[in-house]
Symmetry: C2
Subunit: 364 residues, 2 copies
């Protein structure tokens, strides 16, 4: 598999849904496989809240491969010996594309809270510009889970002719208050953290000890990504052996897991990016800008493949099922699969064997 990281620089303005303009801006992306001469063997991958463009493969020295490495590669479900796969980092991210800590033109001062709110629609529009720049006008498929699935669906609605197929996993058509509430933990924890300094922090201060507010918010995130059953499996009621059961701050294994993972996350993820991406998730509503959800859905020309997970505690199967029902009523080509899984929301990153055949089938 041919793994490359690239950066596209755009000097033309990106008109945002808010009415504001982002100019200039960069998009960082990875590609796997080879673009054919007709430029029509392309699959686009969209990432989730904490993800990046690094979806597959390893760089020299890496211990862990990209987040969907089990799915993307030579001979895998998204076969890089056949397809040219593009995985693009969203605007707003802290992993290379223009985000709140990027320098403004021409002062090069970081935007911080002056960064405009971006939406899923804006993220998708920026990726359309990337595709144009690459001379790609037709996609075999767009694939994404969670916030990646939101992007896939938004592509299908806003740009009906771009993709043959869209595969959206563990996502929704409009973010419910339940999910917004989970995100609210992070928003408040970050805002109220004195080290956040209303966005005027020194990034280097977080290298050793990440922002506590982000770590705390991330605990709520991890709860929503797992499920009661997956936690029973992973941790049970096991207690950290060196901690006394009757010490106030003695911990169950699940607590240690939360501490460890979230504290590490806070060292590498930028809190402002987190706030901006969470805002994009909260404001996601496929029908915004259209007369109704029905109106939005009716624009779709791609085959839509919806995959939900029974035990998903963040985006519930009923949400995908509702979308499937609307597509059915409209006689639009689609499939809907509810995967039998207890794992929780993260199943789309973990239980690949349960849905890779669906993706294989679409890409055949």
């Amino acid at each position: 598999m041919n793994l490359e990281t690239k950066r596209a620089h755009f000097t033309s303005p990106l008109y945002l849904e808010s009415g504001r303009i982002l100019e200039p801006y960069d998009i960082v992306y990875e590609t796997y496989g080879k673009l054919n001469d007709a430029k029509d063997n392309v699959v686009l991958i969209c990432h989730a809240l904490s993800g990046s463009h690094h979806a597959a493969g390893k760089y020299v020295g890496d211990r862990k491969a990209g987040w969907w490495d089990g799915l993307i590669g030579d001979g895998k479900a998204i076969d890089t010996s056949k397809y040219f796969v593009i995985s693009s980092n969203v605007i707003g991210s802290c992993f290379g594309s223009t985000g709140p800590m990027s320098g403004q033109y021409p002062s090069n001062e970081p935007y911080r809270l002056k960064f405009p709110v971006v939406t899923i629609k804006d993220m998708v529009k920026a990726q359309m510009h990337l595709l144009s720049k690459l001379g790609i006008h037709k996609l075999e498929a767009i694939v994404g889970g969670s916030m990646g699935g939101m992007q896939a669906l938004q592509f299908a609605v806003d740009y009906p002719n771009i993709a043959k197929s869209v595969i959206a996993l563990a996502t929704t058509y409009a973010t419910r208050p339940w999910t917004i509430a989970f995100n609210k933990v992070a928003v408040e924890a970050i805002r109220r953290d004195p080290r956040f300094k209303n966005g005027n922090y020194d990034k280097d201060d977080f290298k050793e000890h990440g922002l506590d507010g982000l770590a705390i918010g991330r605990i709520a995130g991890h709860i929503s990504y797992l499920s009661p059953h997956s936690m029973d499996e992973k941790f049970g009621r096991n207690y950290v052996p060196t901690d006394g059961l009757f010490e106030l701050f003695g911990r169950y294994e699940v607590e240690r897991y939360m501490e460890y993972n979230t504290s590490n996350f806070a060292k590498i993820f930028d809190p402002l990016s987190y706030l901006y991406i969470v805002k994009a998730i909260n404001t996601f509503n496929l029908s915004r800008g259209y007369e109704s959800l029905h109106d939005a859905i009716s624009r779709i020309r791609a085959d839509v493949h919806l995959i939900s997970f029974k035990g998903d505690m963040l985006f519930f199967p009923e949400e995908m099922a509702h979308l499937a029902k609307m597509l059915k009523r409209n006689n639009q080509p689609h499939s809907y699969t509810e995967i039998d899984s207890d794992y929780g929301h993260d199943a789309f990153l973990v239980e690949l064997d349960k849905f890779e055949d669906i993706i294989k089938g679409v890409l055949k």
Copy 2:
């Protein structure tokens, strides 16, 4: 209804599960109705994490009545014209019973982090001492939801002869990692809040502006008390009209609700008490101290009435159902009802009409 608040002072030591001793200690409690001469018309009410002994009635000037006022009163399901109802504040609480901010004997210095970890078993033992002091040796019923239900079950196991019936709602037999994880948000948010000062805060500092860590932890709490459906009903995707949709800190109604409720809560609830009570919930395991859960359950002599709520996202119906199955296998008198409800965990405080007939039936 005859509402009274009383305080019992105990100079004899309370031997805790940890091996530590609490001495002296106070229990604050309310009573409703009149104790008969035989002292055998008593119903004991146990409260939940954020609750207090104030379960019913109003004091002069109160706008809101106690937390189960719809259930407790003359002619109500727990009929105070017939029963003498006792609602006791747990040890560890900040509402009057001895807790971490109580003065130690003889210095009167608050315990703070020197307060011993207390468990559900300890809370129950303290209440047994209260009953003894009142000369009450037989209860008609013990009733509680959530942490109150844990106490009710613990009573039934540890003191098999004390109650004729036990009614436990929206609770479990051993706290699962899922619930511990929700509590972990509060634990970390409180600990990491600089104003917490490792427990050495000045209480008065929180009167105007409560501890942010407690407010943040409480957001996670409120998520677990509601459900996706109850949030759809309560808030939908409504946006606070004065906030711009494309302002980073503009809010959905669900966000405003979380901010408002949790910030108020943090002004009245003590963060150390929160940590200690959460610890009691986390360590709750009906089988601790016995050979097995089966061994613990087998001790029960009371009729056990278990009530779960279908949409409870904190303690799932399967947990109560498991307990019911064990009681059935043992041929122990019990009933189990899964209430059809979308409301979430808080249903035991809100949807009284859905289960008051069960309680009435038990107390007939």
